[in-house]
């Protein structure tokens, strides 16, 4: 065992939230890359773009006009993947072993513009503006949770073309659904089982281990800690955990809202500084179902960042082949990734002189 070097030898790490594993091949980081390079899209953007369907006052597809909003702005997605009025559909063969299982599902999709400024990104926004974003999330989450047909609310941000984002105007989405999607359902089940056996909260216990070890911590404030999880799949994946127990946005007081906005800015700013580019990622919040079926005390509010870049602004990690058929694989270790993110400044490279 003393011969084993985690920065050198292939190993597998287990994710207790999903009960899945990731293959880590740290010796492989130096292989040459002749594959696809991402477009380095660093053209300067205007503060207002007359062709952007998210800018204040502009018309959206379908003809609706945006108000001249000054802070955040929320609307129902014009091309929503989920609709509130889908007719219900009953499966004939409901057996667990049925091979063609299907159910009709209801839901709604909303878009939240973070700011009237077309050229901003979270990394460049002020904490004050981001507090406005956190408050808007909280209000939307509360409103959607009140709807009888909604049982799960997924807030997420796709940032950058590499993450399928079709509009650079800073915004996020909410997909609220009748059903609890596959990934959260698996995580809640594993957290529930942990609580039942250990009489403690999985993510609270995990944060205590990380604060003791220190090697995967990226940055912290009085209410939140950002770290590269032990089981991270994406090269620079991060997980933001609250220091104290809180299940959802509804449990945050104004100090904690401020702290969440602060860490949102600091993590994304470190990302931009890592390769001096506008760093793409998908961000998502994990919150318990709103179905009222459980008190969900085994859950813990958390925020994740899944960024695709690996070596530079133009070379990303591809989750293909072995990753699709077998399991995710990563090259640098989570400890190495955390070390590099720890070294990044929290002053945005565009504002450094």
């Amino acid at each position: 065992a003393s011969m084993f070097d985690f920065t050198e030898h292939p190993h597998r790490r287990h994710n207790p939230l999903t009960n899945r594993s990731v293959l880590v091949s740290p010796h492989r980081a130096q292989r040459p890359w002749q594959g696809q390079v991402e477009p380095a899209s660093e053209e300067k953007k205007p503060t207002y773009d007359p062709n952007c369907y998210l800018c204040p006052g502009n018309s959206r597809a379908g003809g609706k006009q945006n108000p001249k909003y000054e802070e955040t702005f929320v609307f129902t997605n014009d091309f929503a993947a989920l609709l509130p009025d889908t007719p219900s559909f009953q499966q004939q063969d409901e057996s667990d072993l049925a091979l063609l299982k299907v159910e009709g599902v209801r839901g709604t999709c909303r878009v939240i513009c973070f700011s009237p400024r077309h050229d901003w990104t979270v990394a460049e926004m002020s904490v004050d503006s981001l507090v406005g974003v956190v408050r808007t999330w909280t209000e939307q989450h509360r409103l959607l949770a009140e709807a009888d047909y909604i049982n799960h609310i997924q807030i997420f941000e796709n940032k950058g073309q590499a993450m399928g984002c079709s509009n650079p105007h800073p915004h996020c989405q909410i997909w609220a659904t009748e059903f609890v999607p596959t990934e959260p359902a698996i995580e809640f089940e594993n957290m529930r089982a942990y609580k039942q056996k250990k009489h403690s909260n999985l993510l609270v216990d995990y944060l205590a281990l990380e604060l003791k070890a220190q090697e995967r911590i990226v940055c912290e404030n009085s209410h939140f800690v950002a770290l590269v999880p032990f089981w991270a799949e994406w090269p620079f994946e991060t997980l933001v955990l609250p220091r104290r127990c809180c299940r959802s946005l509804q449990d945050l007081d104004s100090n904690q809202q401020q702290a969440l906005a602060d860490i949102y800015r600091r993590v994304t700013c470190r990302y931009d500084n890592l390769f001096s580019c506008s760093f793409p990622y998908s961000m998502g919040l994990r919150q318990p179902p709103t179905d009222g079926k459980d008190s969900y005390e085994y859950c813990q509010l958390n925020m994740r960042f899944y960024p695709p870049l690996l070596r530079s602004a133009t070379v990303r990690k591809f989750m293909v082949g072995f990753e699709m058929l077998g399991e995710p694989q990563r090259d640098i270790t989570p400890e190495q990734a955390a070390g590099r993110l720890r070294q990044c400044s929290e002053i945005h490279y565009k504002h450094q002189k």
Copy 2:
């Protein structure tokens, strides 16, 4: 229920192999796309490229020289993600609830060049040449299965830059591992449970349902059927199933090898013809573990194609945001995808006049 239209209404489908679901939003297919477009890389390639490290006679990274091979050529990956001599590592806390679980893992990675011709792709190769590929897979699978420290053999092909392929020379990879990776482990467990309860084979029963329904079939020959699975995640995902029971490549006679080569060509040719481009995908074979712990009668050899394109040669589907945090989402239905693939010719567009 009679009001429910699968081509119109959002619904969820269940994958009995993984026990996970996919959200289908068929009404959303027509939304405008302003996001990333893939480079349309249709430059004509030379039959031999002096800078390609897979062409016959050339030197590879690390200095080894390829022989002047004339059919297939196999070598150990110069930047293997897995190594046969990793020292063993024992976990201290082996409890099921341990939060930092890790294990050292051994394995090996091989590359199989399909042909000396740099400019070919599977879609353009002759069935005879592809029979050579199938025989090479079979031989490599047999040899690797004999190694005591190997318990699972993943054969896969990453085709195209969009799938992280760094070299267009036609080739595939084998990652052979001491451990059974997450995805096959989940599938084998679900197939085992099905067999135990139903006394029949999940994929054999599934194929019978599909042959009866006909609406998701793409093409077939006397030994194999290619179809878009009911639970497909990628827009034009396909699954190739054998008509009769066979667990691995070792169970195929020469007629079946020929039939597998035939369907490999026909599926990839239809893909290329769909958008008149060299269609990117990850292909993988599913075969049972080689650990000898079970007879694995509940398994069935199969081949999958996971292609990213959605609307054209340059507009792909992104599995991001909701897909990463929630569950996969698709726009066109599997039945629509199968219908479009069924209409494609099996004569390659480059050879049509």
